[in-house]
Subunit: 475 residues, 2 copies
Amino acid sequence: MNLQSLQAALRHTLPEGRILTDEPALSAFGQDWSAFAAPRPAAVALPQSVEELRSLVAFARRHRVGLVPSGGRTGLSGGAVAAAGEIVVSLRDLNRVLELDPVSRTLRVEAGAVTRAVQEAAAGAGLYYPVEFAASGSSQIGGNVATNAGGLQVIRYGPTRDWVAGLKVVTGCGEVLDLNRGLVKNASGYDLRHLFVGSEGTLGLIAEVTLRLTAPPGPRRALLLAVDELASLPELLGRFREALVLNAFEFFCDAALGAVVEARGLARPFAGAAPWYALVDFDLGAANAGDAAGLEGEAMAVALGIAGRAVAAGLAADAVVAQDDADTRRLWRLREGISEAIASRHPYKNDLSVTVSRLPGFLAELERVIRAGYPDLEVVWFGHLGDGNLHLNVLRPPGISAIAFRERCEAVNDAVFAVVDRFEGSVSAEHGVGLFKKKYLHHSRSAAEIAAMRGIKAVFDPDGILNPGKLIDPL
Amino acid sequence: MNLQSLQAALRHTLPEGRILTDEPALSAFGQDWSAFAAPRPAAVALPQSVEELRSLVAFARRHRVGLVPSGGRTGLSGGAVAAAGEIVVSLRDLNRVLELDPVSRTLRVEAGAVTRAVQEAAAGAGLYYPVEFAASGSSQIGGNVATNAGGLQVIRYGPTRDWVAGLKVVTGCGEVLDLNRGLVKNASGYDLRHLFVGSEGTLGLIAEVTLRLTAPPGPRRALLLAVDELASLPELLGRFREALVLNAFEFFCDAALGAVVEARGLARPFAGAAPWYALVDFDLGAANAGDAAGLEGEAMAVALGIAGRAVAAGLAADAVVAQDDADTRRLWRLREGISEAIASRHPYKNDLSVTVSRLPGFLAELERVIRAGYPDLEVVWFGHLGDGNLHLNVLRPPGISAIAFRERCEAVNDAVFAVVDRFEGSVSAEHGVGLFKKKYLHHSRSAAEIAAMRGIKAVFDPDGILNPGKLIDPL
């Protein structure tokens, strides 16, 4: 069947106006933030109901065409790229907030609901949805679930997985599974819900999500440390985490700070420069369970004490402490702006993780490997140190093609991933595998695990229509 | 192959002394607390390493004999029963504490480690493993993981699933999978770890578990409310949860209280009797995030205020508040002793759950159905109300056989599970499915879900050797 016939047949599948085939739509919806491959979908579908999702699955099976589920397309691993004539299934118009249950503290939304809208719906009921990242204004909850999105507050609240109380999905067989239905306790067989969290659209189309909510945290403050040695960062993390309830413990290098300051026209936080910075965000109201600090003043005094002692001991070169909410937001801007500030330099991204206790050795070895592998290239380090998660961005210099640059970076990956292997880490902490990390998956997962994943894929998507080519190859 | 030949062949598989075939061992290891069926295993194996687990899997595949993984055998659904000539694989001797990592806050143990030993190892490092239940002194961590054990503190800390950072399992194919390796963040494909949590030994033998630990909670206090109407309990839960950090919100009926008081020779907590009681356990040190109470005195004052207003409003008939730790432990004894106190009456157990917001309607309908279904039988209600989890125990009267009693109870199940269906609940909140709930699984899981579970079973255990007959039937 040629493209025109396929598009015509597809138009009969959904109500009028829900299939787009114009060039701007194909380009926009066929791509994510990774810009990994040139978009070339056959069409874009904008379903508005579970039934319409089922129709699309039936259509795809009949015509043996792939479906690429598509949320806010903020992914960085090419998981939402449609470059091979697939149908993009955008959840954009399946985005209602369905039910807020204040007693069970859950929120049921359609998959296309934007993260920010979810956070606002929770706040409207005096509750809190704690998964937060720079892309919260664009990313959709279905995409967050499909990639088990992490972000800025994992150290306190865990990733998206921990907040999914129920999922409604349409499998590659066209079955609608209503998984766990919001229950707190449910020991009735395999928890398929957790299989879909992080499955990157390869097992089913997520239609609805029931999210757990929690009580809002107390007021927060941030402080920023200037640090001379990478090796000091894990020690600083330990000291702050011991005594305070941390909302985040982030780090970045001076090149990251420079890029943000320049891109946004901000003032530098310190008179001088340091190679590394740590952003510590702590709860002013909550004491760390088991210790005595419980009042706003006390948590602040504890934080100031730790910072002061760290500077005195030479672990940190300098510290600035936010005095109020506005100060805190200003410090956060230095961290949150990094990805956007370096985007114009087309960074090659690695997203690595190890356990927190292995960070010192891991960072030291990695620094050596990076210096040797990229002596001539600018490398921007930042990430969620409190979760053992490091974002490594190599900036593309002018005058080198995208393809040549990627090949140059991938040539260093063997050495990078050898370090990840040695420290039993992950080749993808939170970005997912998609197209981009597929060939490196074996560093994090054994052959037996990958074989099991392929077997599971065959159970839910026997025809291989769901996000073909992403994550793993079918059996 | 006859039984003697099988036993002889099995003795060649493990080192001397690790295979038991004497009658007392077969009886003891072939049974769990459910006493669901007469034990009749072919042998008991006591492996001491992952390699020995693999040898047992290879043996089982070669001889087409079932393996029944066996922990502390405290299960209540027959999940560890070996009644059909299987080999019991007891993890009893694979029970070392392997590694406590204070920086990552994880504890790696072998599957046979007893829950209490895990809690003590955590406490030894100033940390806390929060999954706690009456059987903590007997249950093993591998069994907890295999059933996603819940228990007494789920309202604050969640079930076992939330504390599993890594799992080492041997599948029915004999493959060793080292899943997630303790990482906080790992977006590298399907999270098989969560598939094994709650799989009741049907997908693999759990060899090692890496558990997350946390900071110890602050000091606690309990209070006990006497309550006239079942319908008042959810409202009371809401009032306490709103203002305090609850460690537990438990409830029980007067028959439960009577049984414990009699069995243990305790004093009744109130001068009179009430039909229902609620045990509220709250953190004295931690304020509920977002509110002002932060000190010991304040949390206590808040709790007293809520209890006083509840009594004044007629929601509770009376209240006793623990004044110190000893008082708190005394109140807890009234709740923790229930299962043991009624065990001699051979209760028929249902273990139901719904979302917390659905409790009022669910309890009302269930009460009606129970009264109609068991007009002549003593029914003991208790459970973890804060999690929407109700344990319903029908006591066996003297003079009726076990089989006749079970049939009598099962005749009422249709009406009970019709209520569960209507409120979208679970037929097993935390006991698991095992043998006992298998025929009711379809009330909680759709035909498509059960088909998917069978497909997954075939991926990990193609020969159907792992805990045959439990949970689901193979493809």
